[in-house]
């Protein structure tokens, strides 16, 4: 491995020479391939790390208000679940470490997985690894070059987060350390991504297994941070290690040894697994033959449902499990130790009262709404993949209408959105009931249904983006979703005027069950979504099909 890491290190130097070595060329190629992903995460890291400390400083200007704020937060298990364990939220630095570090560590975990699977299994899936290895490139060089590119991505995100903190006037040393704690997760999940890339035979399966693993790491941190006797579990997940580094609140830099050791072990394991297997297949073999199953072949929509079935089941299943756990945790939220005034202050964050099970569930469902909107965008992404892979050309050369095809895909997405939303509401109720919180079933079903107008809006937006700018549609739809969600979270804290805060749909959601359902706003959002979807059908009818 020593020689290989040397190769990786020589990459930048070789770049200056007229003839680059294969390792440098492969690293540069892998970095270019993941540039959209890297740019998107860089944007998230820089904006989020700037805006949170900035907004906190503005929103809680006095020491007294911060102390009071801290008192309300430190005991709240519901918030720990999302943001992790707070160590010192009465200072800008401590608040930032908790609020930014916790969320961006989750994003960093996702980034590591996505970038590693894309560079390894994604390239292999596309047949390009075979081409590379047919040249004068060894497997080792190809592997470590791809991983060097992932390392470069981690470095860029560290710089982005560091820059965001500096812009928000955090002390440089602390900011650098906090950013390091956040990105310490990346090599670990990149190592995990490298391992699943050896195991799984397709990119999609690698992402599914890896996504499940990252979800589990998150769940471990959730349990560790919310169940008093399970704090030790924090040591079992890189997301917990990022917390135990205690950035800006009594740093423990020795903890860095854990992510370092874990990533070296995983990267080494993946290199070993990849050294002897057949290129183009994984350690899990795909079945090459099967008896024909002729159901769900009568129309493009039926066939889409058939091919999406596993993915839809995974979404519904993981949504249900998470909703149940979050529901169960809601029982631990107690109003007794939170003064009313603080609760009102927290309402400034746009999440309403959080000191009752219902209030806590309302906050959770804000994130459920976000997740289901992501799901809606992902469904349109699946339609786009069918076009990019040119199967759509095969379909549309048949007597199949374009508008009918897209409408079918959107209806499947809408139907699945309804099922998952209601299921999430139902399971959150069941979880709450099991955790001893008394929230009426009807209210939780309503909370689930309350996701639908926003999801319909984003489904329409994603469809329109797909019709108008197919190649950029994912960036556009996820970008709008991210910006509007973040704007909801910080717009009010930044003191933006009401009308400007109001441009985000999330400002118009009644946070059921804590607040009443806002029928008028919901109707407007659903109508805009429908109009956008209809416009998408009209535009899609009139454009060329575009491959990758």
């Amino acid at each position: 491995m020593g020689t290989v890491s040397q190769q990786a290190q020589t990459a930048p130097r070789a770049k200056d020479r007229p003839a680059r070595g294969p390792a440098a060329a492969l690293t540069a190629r892998a970095a270019k391939n993941s540039r959209v992903l890297t740019i998107a995460f860089t944007y998230l890291f820089v904006v989020y790390s700037f805006i949170q400390p900035y907004a906190y400083r503005r929103g809680y200007a006095t020491l007294a208000s911060r102390r009071a704020f801290a008192a309300s937060f430190e005991g709240n298990k519901g918030l720990r679940l999302l943001y992790g364990l707070p160590h010192d939220v009465a200072t800008v630095a401590g608040y930032t470490a908790w609020r930014v570090g916790g969320v961006l560590a989750i994003a960093a975990a996702a980034f590591g997985l996505l970038v590693a699977v894309g560079a390894l299994r994604g390239e292999e899936d596309a047949g390009r690894t075979e081409l590379t290895l047919a040249g004068i490139v060894s497997r080792r060089t190809a592997y470590w070059s791809a991983m060097a590119a992932a390392g470069g991505g981690a470095l860029i995100l560290w710089l982005a987060e560091f820059a965001g903190f500096l812009a928000a006037r955090l002390p440089a040393a602390g900011a650098a350390y906090l950013a390091l704690a956040t990105v310490s997760v990346i090599p670990v999940t990149a190592g995990a991504g490298a391992v699943v890339s050896q195991i799984a035979p397709t990119r999609r399966m690698a992402l599914e297994i890896g996504g499940g693993a990252v979800g589990l790491l998150f769940l471990l941190r959730v349990v560790a941070d919310t169940v008093d006797s399970a704090g030790w579990l924090r040591w079992a997940t890189p997301l917990g290690w990022a917390e135990e580094l205690r950035p800006l609140a009594g740093p423990q830099p020795a903890v860095l040894l854990l992510p370092a050791a874990a990533s070296v072990a995983l990267l080494w394991l993946a290199a070993r697994l990849g050294a002897t297997r057949d290129i183009g297949s994984g350690l899990i073999a795909l079945r090459g033959s099967a008896a024909p199953r002729l159901r769900l072949l009568s129309s493009p929509a039926a066939q889409a449902l058939r091919s999406q079935r596993d993915s839809l089941t995974a979404w519904a299943g993981s949504g249900a499990v998470l909703a149940f756990i979050l529901g169960a945790v809601s029982g631990s939220v107690t109003p007794a130790d939170v003064p009313h005034r603080l609760d009102q202050q927290f309402a400034k964050l746009g999440t309403g009262s959080i000191v009752t099970p219902a209030g806590y569930l309302a906050l959770i469902f804000l994130f459920v709404i976000l997740t289901i909107s992501v799901f809606a965008c992902a469904q349109v992404g699946a339609a786009r993949r069918e076009e990019a892979g040119q199967q759509l050309e095969t379909l549309l050369a048949q007597p199949v209408g374009r508008a009918g095809w897209l409408a079918g895909r959107l209806l499947i997405a809408a139907g699945a959105t309804v099922v998952i939303s209601l299921l999430t509401g139902l399971l959150a109720w069941a979880g709450a009931a099991s955790g001893g919180a008394h929230v009426p079933l009807g209210q939780m079903i309503e909370a689930g249904a309350n996701c639908l107008p926003v999801a319909a809006l984003f489904l329409g937006i994603a469809a329109l983006a797909y019709a108008v700018v197919p190649r950029a549609s994912a960036a556009v739809s996820y970008g709008i979703l991210t910006v509007t969600f973040l704007w909801q979270a910080v717009g009010a804290l930044l003191g933006a005027p009401g009308w400007l805060v109001g441009v985000t749909p999330f400002a118009h959601v009644g946070l059921v069950p804590a607040e009443p359902f806002r029928a008028g706003a919901a109707a407007v959002m659903a109508a805009i979504g429908l109009a956008a979807a209809l416009a998408a059908l009209a535009v899609f009818r009139r454009r060329d099909l575009l491959g990758d």
Partner: protein, 300 residues
């Protein structure tokens, strides 16, 4: 009613003019070979004919129906074989054939089973486990089994082995006998020569030549090779004829038009052997692409 009719069909992708004012008319029952090197605009033409892409100018009709405006009715009478077999990796061959049959309607299932036998396809295998040639067979079988009035094929035999190539030619011949129209885009000249009634040659987005093979040959050069008893004589220059020596006692004549003047000039010389050869399609094709061929003298 023509099977394929295009008028001034033009497609521009940004700065690139992919197809430049194509006029094309193909009668029902014709087998039309559409020739051109990579990037000449063959696939673009097909995408415009099928309404997959939108013409920048001009229009295209399949049996009188504009496939851009009315794709569903237009496609009912058409079956398409794409240049690359883009299918669904997780579905087996049998599932794919059934899916495509249900989408198109009118598939002759008995003929489909026969084709599966003739092309020697294992339909139990998933698409992802098939080689490119075998995936191509899935597409071909699906298209041929529809018995559609018009078969549009974009380099359909790429990836097929020579035995399967022969089977393909037999199937096209059978389709012609049944009165089906075939639009065969290809750069495999022997294939086009073997199965097509009429040929169009595309160069940089323009149709530069079109006609039956006999037409094209008539207007191209013939090669006449003559061997003499003894050293080859010096002949007076003939208009439209290029002469070059072959060894000490042979001459090769490249003749545009009639070979009469060459025969006259040879009279009285001690000719021991004379061969005359029509140009192969390859030579006609290369004529347009060797840099000397003048574009735009189409006569179809």
């Amino acid at each position: 009613m023509t099977a394929i009719h295009a008028e001034g069909l033009t497609k521009r992708y940004g700065e690139t003019l992919a197809l430049d004012g194509l006029d094309l008319s193909i009668e029902p029952g014709e087998v039309y070979g559409y020739l051109g090197p990579n990037g000449a605009g063959k696939t673009t033409t097909i995408r415009l004919l099928l309404g997959i892409h939108r013409p920048t100018a001009g229009r295209a009709e399949l049996f009188g129906v504009d496939a851009w405006a009315d794709p569903v009715p237009a496609h009912r009478r058409v079956a398409y074989v794409a240049g690359e077999p883009y299918l669904w990796p997780a579905m087996t061959g049998a599932e794919t054939l059934e899916f495509l049959a249900r989408l198109h309607g009118g598939t002759d299932r008995a003929y489909r089973d026969e084709l599966v036998q003739r092309f020697d396809l294992d339909t139990g295998k998933k698409i992802r486990a098939l080689s490119k040639g075998n995936r191509q067979k899935v597409q071909l079988i699906a298209a041929l089994a529809t018995r559609a009035d018009l078969l549009v094929m974009d380099e359909p035999t790429s990836g097929l082995d020579p035995l399967m190539e022969m089977t393909f030619r037999e199937c096209v011949a059978a389709a012609r006998q049944r009165g089906q129209t075939v639009f065969l885009s290809s750069h495999i000249l022997a294939e086009v020569e073997a199965v097509c009634d009429r040929v169009g040659i595309l160069k940089q987005g323009k149709l530069v030549d079109q006609g039956t093979l006999a037409d094209l040959r008539h207007l191209s050069t013939h090669t006449v090779e003559v061997t003499f008893d003894g050293p080859a004589p010096q002949l007076a220059p003939l208009p439209g004829v290029q002469v070059e020596p072959v060894g000490r006692s042979g001459l090769r004549f490249e003749v545009g038009g009639s070979v009469g003047p060459v025969i006259n000039a040879l009279a009285g010389h001690p000719v021991t052997a004379l061969t005359s050869r029509e140009p192969s399609l390859e030579e006609i094709f290369l004529h347009h692409y060797d840099g000397h061929g003048t574009a735009g003298h189409g006569h179809g």
